[in-house]
Symmetry: C2
Subunit: 335 residues, 2 copies
């Protein structure tokens, strides 16, 4: 592997000069610069990242932490973040973690050993210690899809968005509305909270037996929950799923059991993942501004890394109700 010294020796200049040229610094004779540039080109010299990282104490790499059981929404989001990070000149390292302390600690150790420049959290971590460790390392962090005190974060108003989703159902004449959410993540709880509040506002009694909590936020979880629900009763005219992934599983089972969506049961999701618009029927949902969320996350992190300040901030982005085909007027005679 060709190094900076090789180039220096070959041209009879010092390594520093080559380094200066390679990094586009000033104070170097234009003629010499030309020469060096050509030599770099010809030899195919490429700087060694590890060496740079060591001396500069920066790796130009940021870590993205995401759940082991990541769903389609998270897949889309991290692809977007990756793209923006790349445009700022960063590489991305992924850290898949489970929702438990051991996994978080292990992740923390890896985060440390990597000499990262920053971290983006797509999986929620509730342990104060985690953030404290990172801040001791001067490691900028930004949280996406959830918030944590004093941590810059990007998310939508989950509760309000969930209320809007349920209000849409209520506006369609539904009153027997069930909800399916997932475990662990706060956004799942917030969405349940929004569900309840919308019910309250409409004067519909809260009924905890109408809320099912699946282990994950995936389509498979949605299927299982819906199956379970149907075993118990059919006393609902609409289902609010906490994520589109869940909703897709819900629709699958509904249709398999001969129930029509939306004629017999309305289904609404949350996220507006790519596939939502390809489902039959097209999924009504709440759109999270994926593109913006990704860009903002990358941008805020970049600012934090380059000390452009404003690390302490919480961005609440606008969401949007997207009415498609999976929800319809409730036709049942006076329930």
């Amino acid at each position: 592997m060709i190094s900076i010294k090789d180039i220096a020796r070959q041209l009879g200049v010092s390594p520093s000069t080559v380094s200066r040229v390679a990094n586009g610094k000033n104070y170097v004779n234009p003629r010499k610069r030309e020469l060096i540039l050509r030599a770099i080109e010809e030899t195919g010299y490429v700087p060694n990242k590890a060496a740079r990282a060591m001396v500069m104490k920066r790796s130009f790499t940021v870590g993205i932490v995401l759940p082991y059981t990541f769903n389609m929404f998270q897949r889309q989001l991290f692809a977007i973040i990756e793209r923006h990070l790349e445009s700022f000149g960063y590489h991305t390292l992924f850290f898949f973690i489970k929702f438990d302390g051991a996994s978080e600690r292990e992740c923390l150790a890896r985060l440390k050993s990597e000499k990262l420049d920053g971290v983006i959290l797509l999986q929620e971590i509730r342990d104060r210690v985690f953030y404290d460790s990172l801040s001791r390392l001067q490691l900028p962090v930004v949280a996406s899809t959830f918030s944590f005190p004093d941590i810059p974060s990007i998310h939508v108003d989950e509760t309000q968005a969930a209320m809007d989703a349920v209000n849409h159902l209520i506006g369609l004449g539904h009153r027997r509305i069930n909800m399916i959410s997932g475990s662990d993540a706060t956004f799942g709880k917030l969405r349940v909270e929004g569900y309840y509040r919308a019910l309250d506002a409409a004067g519909i009694e809260r009924d905890p037996s109408r809320v099912l909590i699946a282990p994950f936020y995936t389509a498979e979880s949605g299927m299982n929950s819906m199956r379970e629900l149907l075993l118990k009763n059919r006393n609902f005219s609409a289902i609010y799923a906490a994520t589109d992934d869940l909703a897709i599983g819900v629709m699958r089972i509904l249709i398999d059991k001969g129930l029509r969506v939306p004629e017999d049961v309305s289904v609404i999701g949350f996220d507006d993942i790519e596939i939502a618009d390809y489902m039959v029927p097209r999924l009504t949902t709440i759109r999270q501004p994926l593109e913006d969320m990704g860009r903002q996350a990358a941008l805020i992190l970049h600012r934090g890394i380059t000390r452009q300040g404003m690390a302490r901030q919480e961005q609440v982005l606008p969401y949007k109700l997207i009415v498609r085909e999976s929800t319809a007027q409730n036709n049942e005679k006076g329930e």
Copy 2:
């Protein structure tokens, strides 16, 4: 950040000894080892990856190259590979590239600068130079979903699989079968080739106007192509899409235009992505052994890195026709 020296000083031993303990080497007094281990634990010391990488000339990181416009199949595949690589103790760096020389060259430069231990290609690269450069760097490579001379690769028999897909359609009485494939990738061409061969075998005349080539292998591309096709004619009773992603887009448009799948038009895909089983109707397709492909790719690369040999190999994995609901008997009277 606490370093190996800190621990050494604190305990009055030499850095070498700490290093030996940290790396589980022999020749160290058990009592001292205990002491050092405890200090490591207490101080939360974590080795600096960059420093290790520099001196060991290994980074314990492997690169995964995948298309910028990656579809759901590729998303699933890389998640699986990531998981297996991690189980071997590697981290993963992603390289998203476009299908052009400039992008490939840039990728190559980055690949070099990262001091990677190995590379997995999920995006096809046809330039001999690319492989030569990597081999000069002693960088093990494995290709997945395509093959290249002398490069270890994992894939299915694309042509045969495509023939099976089309034969399924022919067996159902279809003769006016159109195909939609994508650009650039060889697997797309191979699948077209299989399509033609199946037609040949059934004595159906090849008609190039029945084959549409979309720019990508995504659902959106599938939609666009299908729209385009319907503008021209409806002279087909079945569509063979080169990927499930394409097929999903195809079904969307068919249904939007009031054509029933499979009653009016049968649709078959390729890949068997997760969502295929959630579509309405469920998508008939060719299953690629994703889990196996991912595991094998990681395993072969690991062997290459650790010099356990057998780097020169081509693994052709079994595929399987999964008949679901999107294909049916052709009911038209004698065409």
